[in-house]
């Protein structure tokens, strides 16, 4: 298969996640068909493709968020750091602490900004006392590039921020769990260009310490920030490649159609 061959070609850095023959069913409906993809460590991998092709579904497989959907079934093999995450002894709750997630629509809790960021550290007992918690919250906000804007508003409600600030708050909240991998499902789709630029800048910054997988509908965004791109179509991966190569000389007609169609 083409997809697999491509994969091995670009396997020069160590891959932290590797998915093999992953199929996902919603009830009878098959949303992903034998998808295989390796995610390189400390790089940004972009997932692109037309609406409904299964990008979000694939992303949710990686931290087992699909478990929360009632009639969803996942087949195949996914390993994170060589460990099968669907093995019976794996606790999906701990997995989600390692593989954080940022959603398409900013979804801060209707709590204060501080409590939003402190939510996960409190649950996981990451801080021994209030000072440590303060440190984690401030450091996460700092990393998310939000600290300067909200320094004096830590006790204000998170839902009162602007859309872009809310999205960065959600990123800060995900960072506070101290994950290794961050999944982002169209994090900029509800944002204006300026807020988008800020979030993109932040994502590139985060790349030093985290592995990031981002779903996006914007070709430009994928081209700008990612190192590796996978093109999904109708539940399959049509093409995987280095971003630059995939956007300049795609191997598959469908890829070409999609990216040129978008550029007009």
């Amino acid at each position: 298969m083409l997809a697999k061959d491509m994969n091995t070609v670009y396997n020069d850095t160590k891959s932290i996640i590797s998915a093999k023959d992953v199929s996902v069913f919603y009830g009878e409906k098959r949303a992903l068909k034998s998808v295989s993809l390796d995610i390189p460590e400390n790089q940004i991998t972009a997932l692109i493709g037309p609406s409904g092709c299964g990008k979000s579904t694939f992303l949710r497989c990686l931290n087992r968020m699909n478990d929360t959907i009632e009639n969803c079934r996942v087949e195949g093999n996914i390993t994170v750091d060589g460990q099968d995450i669907y093995a019976p002894h794996v606790d999906e709750v701990l997995l989600r602490a390692r593989v954080g997630m940022v959603f398409q629509k900013a979804n801060p809790f209707p709590k204060s900004i501080y409590d939003n960021v402190a939510y996960a550290p409190r649950i996981h007992g990451l801080a021994k006392n209030k000072d440590e918690l303060d440190d984690i919250v401030l450091a996460s906000l700092e990393k998310a590039g939000l600290l300067d804007e909200v320094k004096d508003l830590l006790n204000e409600s998170g839902t009162g921020l602007s859309g872009g600030q809310q999205q960065r708050l959600c990123i800060a909240r995900a960072l506070a769990v101290q994950p290794d991998i961050i999944l982002m499902d169209e994090p900029c789709s509800a944002l204006d260009p300026i807020a988008t630029a800020k979030v993109e800048e932040l994502i590139e910054e985060l790349r030093k310490n985290y592995t990031i997988i981002i779903v996006t509908h914007s070709m430009q965004q994928a081209a700008r920030i990612s190192q590796k791109t996978a093109f999904f179509h109708l539940g399959e991966i049509v093409e995987i490649g280095e971003t630059e190569q995939l956007f300049t000389s795609p191997n598959d007609k469908r890829t070409q159609g999609y990216i040129t169609g978008r550029f007009g």
């Binding site: 968020m65 709750v93 602490a97 979804n107």
Partner: protein, 413 residues
């Protein structure tokens, strides 16, 4: 002439009017018809409305007149009733139909007039319930004022003794009753409190189970069953409280050496709690369902377990709505009568001990109004004072509940 043939005749007239009106609208020349402001059906309805309106007006007028004390022996009323009224109604209907049919022409804006009729009917319906509420409050108010002319405020609101037996004749013994309502209100509070202790945790937990844990199939079958609880007549709950739960508590009490009367506040309160479980559970079910899915996703995505998500995200987010649900259920419990009549008795004890018999405001209202009484005796009037006080209390609770629920709505819109 009795009312049934009259109505049938009216209907027949309207049907004819409809038929004729729509036919007349159709008979207009084609080009005009397409541009006209209504279709034949609407012209027909227009005629019918004009046929029904005059009789309806007359009927209301007649109702008002028959309440006015014009004639003493009722013979005039009977005359009007038998002859004049039907004739007038027929005349009115005929005149209305005739005028409407004559009015029909393609330029007539029937669509608009029909729309206005719908508007008026809806307005009437909605104001009627407001007027009813006002009427109820006013009727309570007048009797209550009368009551307080006989019994001082201080006695009613502060005295601790309730025995409303007043004498029918001056020479009877025990002629002056005492009207201290405090034991009644404490009784109501005690029973409501017990009911809430039962209903709030059970109702909330079942709502959480239904929304967050149960599979869709389980929810689809069990939720309706739970809501059946709300449809059981309160008398049946009363039986259950008096004959089953009360006796059970007494037996358990004797077994462990406690003195429990059969008609205890505990039995009534517990059964009342069961009665209001469905209120709390289905209202909180709705507000919990209204918590956006993406908040759950956010919590799970951060590695929270289900129970952590419920406790730290869902309940806080739904809390205002849940509080609203609890307050509504509480006003329901406060107003409940039948269970207490059957299971807690009539004894106005001032006690906080749930194992004793107590009585509530509503039960005493029933007690005051059944049996032969002069209508203006303090005993009868006391019922109105109690009812008004109770009404004010539940009204306050409802208003608070509404305010809380409204605030909650603003949050997620």
């Amino acid at each position: 002439m009795s009312i049934l043939p009259l109505i049938i005749l009216l209907l027949a007239m309207c049907a004819t009017g409809y038929w004729y009106g729509s036919k007349k609208a159709l008979s207009a020349p084609l080009p005009v018809r397409y541009l006209s402001s209504g279709n034949p059906h609407q012209f027909g309805l227009f005629v019918v409305v004009w046929g029904v309106l005059p009789p309806a007006m007359l009927f209301i007028l007649w109702l008002v007149f028959s309440f006015l004390p014009i004639d003493a022996d009722g013979s005039i009323a009977q005359q009007i009733d038998k002859v004049v009224f039907p004739a007038l109604i027929m005349l009115g209907a005929a005149a209305g139909l005739y005028m409407a049919i004559r009015e029909i022409n393609p330029k007539l804006r029937v669509r608009k007039s029909l729309e206005r009729c719908v508007y008026a009917a809806l307005l009437l319906a909605s104001t009627l319930s407001v007027f009813t509420t006002v009427g109820i409050v006013l009727s309570l108010l007048f009797e209550t004022i009368q009551f307080f002319e006989k019994v001082p405020y201080s006695e009613f609101f502060l005295a601790l003794d309730w025995s409303p037996q007043t004498a029918m004749r001056a020479d009877q013994v025990g002629s002056s009753g005492s009207f201290g309502a405090v034991p009644l209100f404490t009784g109501t509070m005690l029973i409501t409190f017990i009911a809430m202790i039962v209903a709030v945790p059970l109702g909330l937990m079942s709502a959480i189970y239904m929304t967050e844990y149960a599979s869709r199939r389980f929810r689809a079958t069990v939720k309706p069953i739970l809501e059946i609880l709300a449809g059981i007549p309160t008398v049946v709950y009363g039986f259950f409280a008096a004959l089953t739960v009360g006796v059970f508590f007494r037996d358990v009490g004797t077994a462990i050496g406690l003195d429990v009367v059969t008609e205890s506040a505990l039995a009534a309160g517990v059964v009342m709690g069961m009665m209001i479980i469905p209120f709390i559970s289905s209202l909180s079910d709705d507000v919990i369902m209204a918590v956006p899915q993406n908040l759950r996703d956010a919590s799970y995505g951060l590695g929270a377990t289900k129970s952590e998500t419920v406790l730290k995200v869902i309940i806080p987010a739904a809390l205002p709505g849940i509080v609203g649900a609890i307050l509504l259920a509480m006003s329901r419990a406060i107003g409940e009568t039948m269970i207490v009549v059957m299971a807690a008795g009539f004894a106005a004890n001032l006690t906080a001990n749930p194992l004793e018999a107590v009585t509530t405001v509503t039960v005493q209202i029933v007690g005051l109004l059944v049996g032969d009484q002069e209508f203006d005796s303090a005993k009868t009037l006391a019922a109105f004072a109690l009812a008004l006080t109770l009404f004010v209390i539940t009204l306050c609770l409802n208003v608070i509940a509404l305010l809380v629920v409204r605030k909650y709505r603003e949050k997620y819109d």
